[in-house]
């Protein structure tokens, strides 16, 4: 239970920071102030300034927005496409459609996701939208597989049988009975994919294929800091800590939610 609380607190903190950045940041994150470049943390600039004199705290706040937006939409893509695929595959278990969906899943799984994400963003142009698509594609099989697995065991249950006897179509059963019963599982997996999405976005931005200037992003802040790390380590430390904290918070929340939804796991202490 402790991990759930801690996870929620950390995630909420990041979320609130991102939300506040829409109405207020200590400084304008895009305004350069060369005379005040590379200021150390503390003083008027809490996290210091970068090589253009931009306020790092404001940039970190706005960067949270980018990371959350990219990862969230990528999870949305994965769920919107993956869940119906999983439900369909389970409803038509053993049919050619099930086989096609699952083999398609295996194929996407087999690709090294980062390499393909780099390929997609490189080909279609670097930017947040293409990063979302690249990360989202790899979320589809994750949700399809987990939905199918959970749905298959539900199809054996009596209440589904009752619904079939009542004459409901399999599509309706999937929507009305199966889907509500896999929601918990999807929330847990969604949290985990969300945190993976944050890491993937950071990696893509770091190599210059994610959100483009002047949009602030944690990954690009790290890329900017790399050549200056020997004399301005604060430029690398804060955005990195922001990524670490966000991902940690989401992972703790995911673990906590899984325990909450599945009391069996809680007792065995995994």
């Amino acid at each position: 239970m402790k991990s759930l609380t801690l996870g929620i607190v950390i995630s909420a903190l990041v979320l609130v920071m991102a939300a506040i950045s829409f109405v207020w940041t200590p400084y304008d994150h895009e305004v350069m102030d060369i005379p005040n470049k590379l200021q150390p943390p503390g003083g008027p600039h809490w996290f210091g300034t970068d090589h253009f004199g931009r306020d790092l705290f404001s940039m970190t706040m706005v960067g949270a927005r980018t990371s959350i937006a990219v990862a969230l939409v990528a999870v949305g893509i994965g769920m919107t496409i993956g869940v119906p695929l999983g439900l369909t595959a389970a409803a038509r278990k053993g049919s050619w459609l099930d086989e096609l969906i699952m083999r398609g899943n295996d194929l996407v799984f087999a690709f090294p996701s980062l390499v393909i994400a780099i390929l997609i963003t490189a080909v279609f142009g670097a930017g947040a939208v293409n990063a979302i698509i690249a990360i989202g594609i790899f979320n589809i099989p994750v949700f399809a597989r987990i939905t199918r697995g959970a749905a298959l065991s539900l199809w054996e249950r009596e209440f589904i049988l009752a619904a079939r006897v009542a004459g409901k179509s399999s599509a309706r059963i999937s929507a009305e009975h199966i889907l509500p019963n896999v929601t918990n599982l999807l929330i847990v997996q969604g949290t985990i994919q969300f945190s993976l999405g944050i890491l993937a976005e950071a990696a893509l931005s770091y190599v210059g294929l994610g959100a483009q200037p002047p949009t602030a992003s944690w990954g690009r802040m790290l890329a900017d800091s790399q050549t200056m790390i020997s004399f301005a380590p604060h430029m690398a430390i804060f955005p990195g800590m922001a990524i670490l904290l966000t991902v940690l918070g989401l992972n703790l929340m995911g673990d906590g939610l899984r325990d909450l939804f599945d009391p069996k796991l809680r007792r065995s202490g995994r």
């Binding site: 980062l114 800091s225 430390i237």
Partner: protein, 315 residues
């Protein structure tokens, strides 16, 4: 078993064919004409046409696909547009950085994860277990390229124990090259070690609850003997699978770490080729990475099926 292997083999071949088609198709829509890029926008149309013909760009797409895919099968990856050298040669040079890096990272990850996971499981609930599990949470959450930068700051810039980047080449000596790969390998290994330690712990905990463990204790083995002789051995099956999958991940995931340390590996080659619009290099290197990942997955599947017959009937 044979049926299972055959089924896996067919799916391996289909995966490879579809993968090659996807990669080729994606690369084909890349904006920018390589011939124009090489000769510049002021090039004369007839010179452009001649270069396009020389590069085979005037051929229909389907022909170019078979040309490329057939060449890959024979180990001929075509010729780089920008460097005018065979791609296979360029790849061969880079592989000697990327492959040792992946192996080094895999060894490190295993060396960290095994003791950590076994210790945590055997002392479940203790401070040591909680500490290790907390550390793995951090390890999973840390972006490895950031961890790499922090290590450069501490161990290369402040303490000067390791070089901050670059690679001297194996001909300059084994140890000096290994030294250059050490920080990158640690950065790459850390998140994997965290995952592996968690799998090791959880798999071992499963085994510790099994009946055969009680039997082992009942016939007089000490806790430690029963742990090492029976539990650890059986717990290794899922762990080995993860190690197999991790190798593929480390090879492909190394491309970001290579960028942090300016290592002349496959990752650098991909990024350089992307900015130079050197399509043939990009598609060949990506295909090579995908090939390795798919084949390693296949081998893991096969090995897993061999040790656990239940999996052969899995749908």
């Amino acid at each position: 078993m044979l049926r299972y292997a055959l089924k896996r083999l067919i799916s391996l071949v289909i995966s490879l064919i579809v993968a090659s088609m996807v990669i080729f198709a994606v690369i084909e829509v890349i904006p920018g004409d390589p011939a124009t890029l090489i000769l510049g926008v002021n090039a004369r149309p007839d010179t452009l046409a001649a270069l396009r013909a020389e590069m085979g760009l005037d051929q229909p797409m389907i022909l170019r696909y078979f040309d490329w895919a057939g060449g890959m099968l024979r180990g001929d990856m075509g010729q780089s547009y920008t460097y005018k050298t065979p791609v296979s040669g360029m790849v061969a040079d880079r592989v000697w950085v990327s492959l040792p890096l992946a192996i080094y990272a895999l060894v490190l990850s295993t060396l960290i994860a095994f003791p950590a996971g076994i210790y945590a499981a055997s002392r479940r609930g203790s401070i040591g277990d909680v500490g290790i599990m907390g550390a793995t949470q951090l390890g999973v959450a840390v972006p490895n390229f950031w961890f790499a930068m922090i290590m450069v700051l501490i161990f290369a810039i402040k303490l000067r124990w390791f070089p901050s980047g670059g690679f001297p080449g194996w001909d300059k000596g084994f140890w000096i090259s290994m030294k250059a790969l050490t920080l990158p390998a640690i950065a790459l290994a850390l998140p994997q070690a965290a995952i592996l330690a968690r799998v090791m712990r959880s798999s071992l905990l499963d085994m510790l609850g099994e009946d055969f463990m009680r039997t082992a204790r009942a016939k007089g083995l000490t806790r430690r003997q029963a742990l090492w002789r029976h539990a650890v051995r059986n717990a290794l099956i899922p762990v080995l699978t993860i190690i197999g999958l991790q190798f593929a991940f480390l090879l492909a995931g190394g491309i970001i770490i290579e960028k942090v340390f300016f290592l002349p590996g496959l990752g650098r080659l991909i990024f350089q080729s992307i900015s130079a619009r050197d399509l043939i290099v990009v598609e060949s290197v990506v295909m090579l990475l995908v090939f390795v990942v798919i084949v390693v997955n296949f081998a893991v599947d096969l090995a897993y099926g061999a040790v656990d017959p239940r999996l052969r009937t899995r749908t």
